[in-house]
Structures are given as structure tokens and as C-alpha cells.
Amino acid sequence: MAIFVNADTKVIVQGLTGGQGKYHGLRNQAYGTQVVGGVTPGKGGTDVEGIPVFNTVAEAVAATGADASFIAVPPKAASAAILEAAAAGIRFIVCITEGIPAQDEAKVYNTLLRDYPNTRLLGPNCPGIISPGKCNIGITAGEIAQLPTAKGPNVGIVSRSGTLTYQALYELKQRGIGVSTCVGIGGDPVPGTNFIDCLREFQADPETHAIIMIGEIGGSAEEEAAEFIKANVTKPMSAYIAGVTAPEGKKMGHAGAITSGGKGTAQGKMDALRAAGVKVGLNPTEAGDLMAEIVATL
């Protein structure tokens, strides 16, 4: 088991003929992911190293039976690409594009909610998802993810930050702890999938025995997650929140990483998670150490 994706997931890459799409699409395929097609308007009928390219998502889905899409197109084209995938019946969309206008994101999110309730969007501006040994969609280097074991214990990872997602994978790999699925939800203000969506799936997934959550300053997603954890998550958790020393009122790289009026601070988030029974580390290594302690008791 894994969450959202597994060995049967068939993926198309929107933007397969572009630099990023080609590089990461082929890397995902080399990892063992079923990359069954690509979509680039005007380039239908060609191929990228044997992977067929189609003009539209609908054509790609009809020809390949794809149920997931990896979107690697520029910000201007990303909103339309997401909606095209949803309209073609794709159930899981991963969008790595950074720099989509917030107004577009809000509109896309609410359009999906209303017109395509069965489609899940991961991202935008996220590293993607990896279920080690089964499926890797996005830009994560597969070799830093420890394979899960049949009897466990295995850990699920959910993170708002790309590089800290890798750091979390790496911390577990160093300690030989298996990973069930690692989800990077992205650092934008309106993520398609949030912490709670992932926590709910991890709680229900029999292959996941513990969960690491990596948050950062800005917004209230971590506080909302803490409420959810208190009420619904029985699996043990560790966490880390980036940005303890971030100055107020400055966007720290990510569009969503900003504190204002004393809200969205790392301290507030850490306090909320601790109150929900989560072991909170002050840096990624400490969160890894805390997880190792948890795993030792399982």
C-alpha cells in the first residue's frame, strides 16, 4: 500500500518535450514509474525516447489509459494545463510549476472543487510524490528514498518545502527507516492538497506506521493540521517547522512563507503541534532523531 499513487499508476507528462519535463519525466520512468505518454500541443505523433507524445490530454488518456498527470509547464500555461487534465478525467495531478499567480491558483482550486470533485491536485510549486519502489512523480531524486519493508515500521512524510522534503527522506535513509510515501504539498498560498488530506490518507494506510510532517511559517495550515491530528490521528508523529528566525513581514522565498501581525509564526505552529501530541524537533535532524526514537518503540 501507499497513498495517492502506487505501482499501477499510469502517468502522462504535460510538457514532456520541454527541458524540465523531459529531464524529470525520463528520470521518473528510469525509477520504474509507468510513464505512458506526454502532451505538448502541436507535437502529437512524435515521441521522447520512445514515449509517445499527444496534442491533448484527452487523446493521451484515450490511447494510454493514464490516470495521473505530471505537469511541468511554465506559469502562464499551468492553470489551463491543470484544468485540461481534470476535464480529461485524470484523477491525480502533480504540478511542479513555480510562480503561478495567486489569482489563477485560487480560481483553479475552486473550479476543481466544484466541477471535478474526484480530481486531486498536488501542488503547484511542489516537488511531487514518491512511493519508494513503486512510483515517483516529480523532481525527487529516487535514490534518497529508503524502500519500505513488508513488516515495517514505515514512515509517511508530508512537507510544504521541496528541499526539506529531500532532507527528511535523507534523514530517514541515514537511519535505515523505510518510507511508505513522501508527499511534497508545495509552498504556495493555495495548495491543491493540504496537510490534512495527507494525514487522513496516512492514518488509513496500513503500510504507514508513523508520520513526519515538515511545515514552515505563514498561513495556518499547520495549526489546522494540529486540530485534525488531535481528533483523528492515532499514529505517532514527529515534526519540524522552518522559519523560527524569519523576520516578520518578509516573504521567505516561497510565496506563502510570510508572517504578519504576529500570525503564522513558527512558535505558534510548534506549540499547536506539541499540544496535539506531536514530537517537534528544532531542526530536520532532530525531527529525524525523534522519529528514530518513535520507530524503535513500534
Binding site: Q20, P75, K76, E98, G99, I100, P101, A102, Q103, D104, A106, K107, Y109, N110, T111, R114, P127, I139, A141, I144, S159, R160, S161, G162, T163, L164, T165, Y166, Q167, Y170, G187, P189, V190, I214, E216, I217, G219, S220, A221, E224, Y240, A242, G243, V244, T245, A246, P247, K250, M252, G253, H254, A255, G256, A257, G261, A266, L282, N283, P284, T285
Partner: protein, 383 residues
């Protein structure tokens, strides 16, 4: 990007939101000319991006050219909470019957747009939210639907806007929403939104924050960008597309990814150091960008050591290493580097650094983030 009041008003005017007639002035003579155009009496307003301008003496009423001369002379060059006043906005003084508040922003938790409307304007809305929360109408708007005149009217009535102003305010709310959405604002706020004795309503102030991600479809933003007050290092970083924020500490930081960069700041702090900056070289950074990043850090006189923290995903270790070698050949760095390199092609990167003949006094490599931070802080603190 935050706009000055006068830019916000000019931006409002693009979306047919009524504002007071006026002009921006950089000199006393320009201020007098602007006053003639606007018509006396006028208000001379300091243009700085900080609250409390009035209390600081940065907003003055003038009835004559001499008074404009006096006030503009005093206000230009004034220091308001550390902000130097370089320009004033001179506008026709409005007769005010009532002051209201209106704003649109994104409610991240609800993932909808949020209208805030209150009949108690002209004061800080945060203060109203504490003293009299019922005086603020909060209305979520689905970005797919937008706001209709009927919904806007209903909100105005619920906010206890005076009857004679309801239609004008409703019209204003629809136009402000248009500005907020089509104009790609993170925040569009009018405080105060005034009712005049003649029954008209208009925006007496403007607070606008633009979404930088949408700059590609707004060529008209270029003129706003030109007046953005960045320090020298921030300017330099921007020309190289680096995400840089200057801080006060002594350890220069370079990391790939916003999260890792934030985390690096945290770890430096935890081991007893202080960060000189936040710098994210982004995914896919190459040798050129690394060299540019080191150049930016090197222009900061406070920097005593440089911590480079790279976890390769898209970013490749050998590119990072090449950039460091190149930068060391190009510029004489003021401080030693401590590097932690992991992830994609990290081995190759470490090899390049090891074989480049760089003395240990200039560069050391550490296997983990924590050890690298400790080493960089020890260097910065002179241990």
C-alpha cells in the same frame, strides 16, 4: 510588491475607482504646481510605506501656494520611522461626512477571497477588530463567481453603511474587486473610503500589494518596480534572480530551496550564531548563479563566514562546486566558506572542490547541516 499611496491611487484609477485629483511631487516647486492643478485647498502627504504618517507630521493641509511651499519643504527629506520621504502626493482636500473601510485579500484557510467592510473607517482596522468586531462584515467570495452588485449592496447594508452611500459603496466594491482580481493584487485596501456631503464616495487612501508572480502580464508594473526601495545588495540579487533578504548577523547563508534556506537560518541561530541574510539560489542553480550569490554575500561588510547548504534535487552538486571554484577565482572573498553538499551528484561536487587546490583557510567541507553550521558559527565568532 507594496505600492506607495500615490501609485495605489493611480492603479485604482485604471479600474475606474474614484480618487481625489492630485499628483506626485519630488520637489517643492513640483508640489506647488500639483496644488494648482488639484485646486485649493490641498493636502500634502508624505509617501512612505509605513503607518503613522499623520502623527509624524507627514500629512498637512494647505490653503495657499506659500503653505504648500512650507509643508512640502518640511515633509520632503523627513524621516518617518526610518523611512526617508523622497516624494509627496498633493491632492485636492475633500470634505468628509463619513469614513468607511473596504478591502479584499485572499483567505488562505478558506481558499476564497475575503471582503472586509466596515462603517468604522479612518482608523486601523486591526483596532476595530479588537474593540468592536461586530462592526466589520466579513464575506467570502468564490473566485469562480466573483462579486455581483446585489451581493455588494447587501454587504453594504449589513455593514451599516449610511443609506445615501449604499449604492456608491456597492459600486465601489465591484470595481475594487475587479482591481483586486484582474489587477493581480495580494491586497487592495481603501481606508478611509469616504462619503462626501454631496453624496459621492471615493477612495481617500490606497494600500495595494501586488503579486510578483503575475508581473509577466502587467507591463504597467515596471514603473512601480523602479521606485521600489531595495538596499544595494537586494538590488544586486534581483538582477541575478536570487531570492535575497538582508539581515543583521555575521554568517552569510546560501542554500537551495526556500525551506532549506529558512532551516539553515534556524540552525545557525540554534548553535549560537546570527545569519547575515536569507539567500535561496533556487532549483537548478548553476555555476553562474553560485558565483553571483557569493558576490552578493561578499558585498556585505558584516559577513565573517559563509555557510553554503545544498541538497541537490534539480540542483546538481558538480555545478555548485564549479560555481564556488569560479567565484574564488573571480573575487577575493572576505570570509571563509563552510559547505555542506548532499543529494544529486554530491560526490562529483566534493571531488571538484577537493581537487581545486583551495586552502583549508578558505573552504572546509562538513558532512551534515548541523556540523557545517557549527563550523561556520565558530569562524564567525572568531573561535
Amino acid at each position: 510588491m507594496d505600492l506607495f499611496e500615490y501609485q495605489g491611487k493611480q492603479y485604482f484609477a485604471r479600474y475606474d475607482i474614484p480618487v481625489s485629483p492630485g499628483d506626485v511631487a519630488y520637489t517643492v516647486d513640483e508640489a506647488v504646481a500639483a496644488a494648482e492643478m488639484a485646486g485649493y485647498p490641498v493636502v500634502v502627504k508624505a509617501q512612505v510605506q509605513v503607518g503613522g504618517r499623520g502623527k509624524a507630521g507627514g500629512i498637512k493641509l494647505a490653503d495657499t501656494p506659500d503653505e504648500v511651499r512650507l509643508h512640502a519643504g518640511n515633509i520632503l527629506g523627513m524621516d518617518i520611522k526610518g523611512h526617508l520621504v523622497k516624494r509627496v502626493w498633493v491632492e485636492h482636500a475633500s470634505d468628509i461626512s463619513k469614513e468607511y473601510y473596504a478591502s479584499y485579500s485572499l483567505d488562505r484557510a478558506a481558499k476564497k477571497h475575503l471582503l472586509m467592510l466596515s462603517a468604522e473607517g479612518g482608523v486601523e482596522i486591526e483596532a476595530v477588530a479588537v474593540s468592536n468586531p461586530d462592526a466589520i462584515v466579513l464575506l467570502h467570495i468564490d473566485p469562480v463567481d466573483g462579486i455581483s452588485l446585489a451581493v455588494a449592496r447587501d454587504a453594504a447594508v449589513r455593514a451599516n453603511i449610511d443609506e445615501e452611500a449604499v449604492d456608491g459603496v456597492a459600486d465601489m466594491l465591484v470595481k475594487l474587486y475587479d482591481c483586486f482580481t484582474r489587477g493581480d493584487c495580494d491586497l487592495a485596501e481603501i481606508n478611509p473610503l469616504i462619503l462626501r456631503p454631496d453624496g459621492g464616495v471615493h477612495a481617500l487612501d490606497a494600500k495595494v500589494s501586488l503579486d510578483n508572480n503575475a508581473a509577466f502580464r502587467h507591463p504597467e508594473w515596471d514603473e512601480f518596480r523602479a521606485t521600489e526601495e531595495l538596499d544595494e545588495r537586494e538590488q544586486l540579487a534581483r538582477t541575478h534572480d536570487l531570492q535575497y533578504i538582508g539581515l543583521d548577523g555575521t554568517v552569510g547563508i546560501i542554500a537551495n530551496g526556500a525551506g532549506l534556506a529558512m532551516s539553515t537560518l534556524d540552525v545557525v541561530n540554534q548553535v549560537g550564531g546570527t545569519a547575515a541574510n536569507f539567500l535561496d539560489i533556487g532549483g537548478g542553480a548553476n555555476a553562474d548563479m553560485m558565483a553571483a550569490a557569493l558576490g552578493v554575500i561578499n558585498s556585505d561588510e558584516n559577513v565573517k563566514s559563509i555557510l553554503i547548504n545544498i541538497f541537490g534535487g534539480i540542483t546538481r552538486g558538480e555545478e555548485v562546486a564549479k560555481g564556488i571554484v569560479e567565484a574564488l577565482g573571480r573575487v577575493d572573498l572576505r570570509a571563509p566558506i563552510v559547505i555542506r553538499l548532499d543529494g544529486t551528484n554530491a560526490e562529483e561536487g566534493r571531488e571538484i572542490l577537493a581537487n581545486a587546490g583551495i586552502p583549508e583557510s578558505k573552504l572546509t567541507s562538513k558532512p551534515t547541516m548541523l556540523e557545517a553550521a557549527r563550523a561556520a558559527v565558530a569562524l564567525a565568532n572568531g573561535n
